[in-house]
């Protein structure tokens, strides 16, 4: 765990402690379980986003994809009677295809990620709304899918299964991002794509793979969200979720210029954001201030982090010089 992540963890704990002192019910197992459920949902989304951000890209269509795939998933299993073991991989595949399309447009046709995914944001929401004719996709009363519900909305030993899913995904993705060759390429491309190309890396494929990973993880979280709300009005479902995901990554130390950030960071960023939402409700802060609190904390977090790293760099430089000065004459 880097020092940056540690700082974020401390912030989370301090905020948690303050809230717990004001309202001890914050620490009730049921509250922690509820919040960790949402951490699971948004965390999966944020990890996907992180893979794209690390390459220096951005994925703005996340919220719309959550709406579109959520609508399709509910429609498939609730209305069209498709079995969920068929629908689930189908949706994941669709997510992958969307990611592939974005990656293709970005790497092969050289379009800017912001532009491609902005168009995605508009198009997918439009398609979702058209698909339901602006209606709501939902389950009928009493319609049940016990195994699916257990996997998505259920709990094991009091821990939401969505949170467990996040942990598993996070571990796998940590290995991929921080230990595998692929992860290393992602970092390299994020910093200097041209140089990576000169080193014989098929940068196009690597970047495309990042978008596919993002697409699949987004699809997965779309299913989780669908099973959480159990009803999706495509005009508003998932709106701004891309901002949550990006905010989580940024809080977690990712640079939108690419090439920086850690998986632990993005998880901690998600945790902090959800803690803030929980806090607004638990402390009875007017809901209208929800966004303002979130924005304020992100800004402060980023500021502190930035100032701190300036300070650290200066200290490091001093130290290095001192060491260098001591060592040099001996050479």
């Amino acid at each position: 765990m880097s020092k940056k992540d540690l700082g974020l963890l401390i912030l989370i704990l301090v905020v948690g402690a303050v809230v717990a002192i004001i309202n001890p019910r914050f620490l009730l197992p049921i509250n922690l379980a509820n919040t960790s459920n949402l951490i699971g949902l948004f965390g999966i989304l944020a990890i996907g986003q992180a893979f794209v951000i690390i390459t220096g890209g951005i994925e703005l269509s996340v919220g719309s994809v959550v709406a579109l795939l959520g609508v399709l998933f509910v429609d498939f299993i609730a209305t069209r009677g498709m079995g969920w073991p068929v629908a689930l991989p189908l949706i994941l595949m669709l997510g992958g295809i969307i990611g592939l399309a974005h990656g293709w447009l970005i790497t092969r046709l050289n379009l800017q990620p912001f532009v491609v995914t902005l168009c995605g944001l508009l198009i997918y929401r439009g398609v979702a709304r058209f698909y339901t004719a602006d209606g709501t996709a939902g389950f009928a009363f009493g319609q049940n899918f016990p195994e699916l519900e257990f996997l998505t909305a259920g709990r094991s030993y009091g821990v939401p299964n969505s949170f467990i899913a996040l942990i598993v995904i996070a571990i796998v993705m940590w290995v991929v991002l921080h230990r595998s060759v692929f992860g290393r390429y992602l970092y390299a491309i994020g910093k200097n794509e041209e140089a990576a190309k000169y080193s014989g890396i098929r940068t196009g494929r690597v970047v495309m793979a990042a978008y596919v990973i993002c697409g699949v993880l987004t699809a997965l979280s779309a299913i989780y969200f669908a099973m959480y709300t159990r009803s999706i009005s495509p005009a508003s479902h998932g709106q701004f979720y891309e901002l949550y995901a990006i905010a989580a990554a940024v809080l977690g130390g990712f640079s939108l210029r690419g090439g920086e950030g850690s998986l632990i960071g993005v998880i901690l960023g998600t945790v902090l954001l959800q803690e803030l939402q929980n806090l607004v409700n638990l402390l009875g802060i007017p809901s209208s201030l929800n966004f303002a609190v979130m924005g304020g904390v992100i800004l402060i977090g980023v500021l502190v982090d930035q100032q701190w790293s300036v300070y650290r760099e200066r200290r490091l430089m001093l130290e290095a010089t001192r060491k260098g000065a001591a060592g040099a004459p001996a050479e």
Partner: protein, 293 residues
């Protein structure tokens, strides 16, 4: 484009308007000489709705029935439309404009009916918590106001209303958080159509179905299911089907010069109804029949 067009402009995409769509459809069957349309603005915002209506006027629409996003302050914009075409309002009225008539129900009355449900379900009093999409929206404010009026002088109290900006995940989390933050709450009110189902599900997940009185608005299938099951005390339903059906016929008649359907004060109130356990089957059947035609 020879047939005159009548448009029904809603205030945003929502399932609530599906029934109105059915009403328009039924009216269309009876008005073959007209072209009836129901229009959703792509966002629930004044500017976009205004623009939509401007464009409809340009496209030559003869009469518009609108559920204005913000009727109180959109007087000028609505008057501009009214000066170029026959304008009717629905859902929420704009009495200061030059609209010809209002057809719809009263949200204040609906709030009062919700209070009735609460009083009946909790004769010994209790604490209620409300959930709504947009706290600032007129319909939300009126429903809340109506309910508070209805509860005045009783031992039941509406202690807070939480907003969720029409984000369903937040709507559900709000209920979950409320269960944690206010353990003494005995009743929950879902002011928007999707709030009641989210309350229902959060309570079910927490194993508190039946322990907390749920007062609903509108007729989401989950809400109706809850009413039937007995876990939702009752729900207050509006009749958008009737608004649309009657409204379209009224507009057609008006264009043909028949003004008899318009009362002196310009208000055609189609009252809201309380749907309890006993009425729910009939209501659901009717609903199905309407959308099925």
């Amino acid at each position: 484009q020879d047939k005159p067009t009548l448009a029904f402009v809603v205030n945003g995409a929502s399932d609530f308007w599906k029934a109105a769509e059915a009403g328009v459809k039924k009216a269309q069957a009876e008005l073959p000489n007209y072209n009836l349309e129901l229009k959703y603005p792509e966002q629930s915002s004044v500017a976009i709705q205004q623009r939509l209506m401007d464009d409809l006027v340009t496209a030559g629409v003869k009469a518009i029935m609108v559920s204005a996003v913000d009727p109180k302050t959109s007087t000028d914009g609505l008057n501009k439309i009214a000066s170029e075409t026959a304008l009717f309002t629905t859902d929420s009225d704009a009495p200061q404009t030059k609209r010809i008539a209002y057809i719809g129900s009263s949200n204040i009355d609906a709030g009062k009916q919700a209070a009735e449900i609460a009083k009946k379900a909790m004769p010994d009093g209790g604490k209620c918590l409300g959930f709504v999409g947009l706290l600032g929206a007129d319909n939300a404010k009126e429903r809340i106001e109506g309910m508070k009026e209805g509860l005045a002088g009783t031992k039941i109290e509406l202690i807070d209303v939480r907003g969720d900006d029409i984000d369903q995940a937040r709507a559900k989390k709000n209920v979950e958080d409320a269960l944690v933050a206010s353990p003494d709450v005995t009743c929950m009110v879902g002011f928007y159509s999707y709030n009641t189902p989210r309350i229902y599900e959060a309570l079910r997940d927490a194993g508190k179905l039946g322990q907390i009185t749920v007062v609903g608005f509108d007729d989401d299938p989950i809400t109706l299911g809850g009413v039937k099951e007995g876990t939702v005390a009752a729900t207050v339903v509006q009749q958008p089907f009737e608004w649309a059906y009657q409204g379209m016929k009224l507009m057609a008649a008006y264009l043909e010069g028949d003004k008899s359907g318009i009362p002196e004060n310009g208000l055609i109130i189609i009252p809201t109804k309380i749907i309890g356990k006993d009425d729910v089957d009939a209501y659901a059947a009717n609903l199905k029949a309407m959308s099925g035609n």
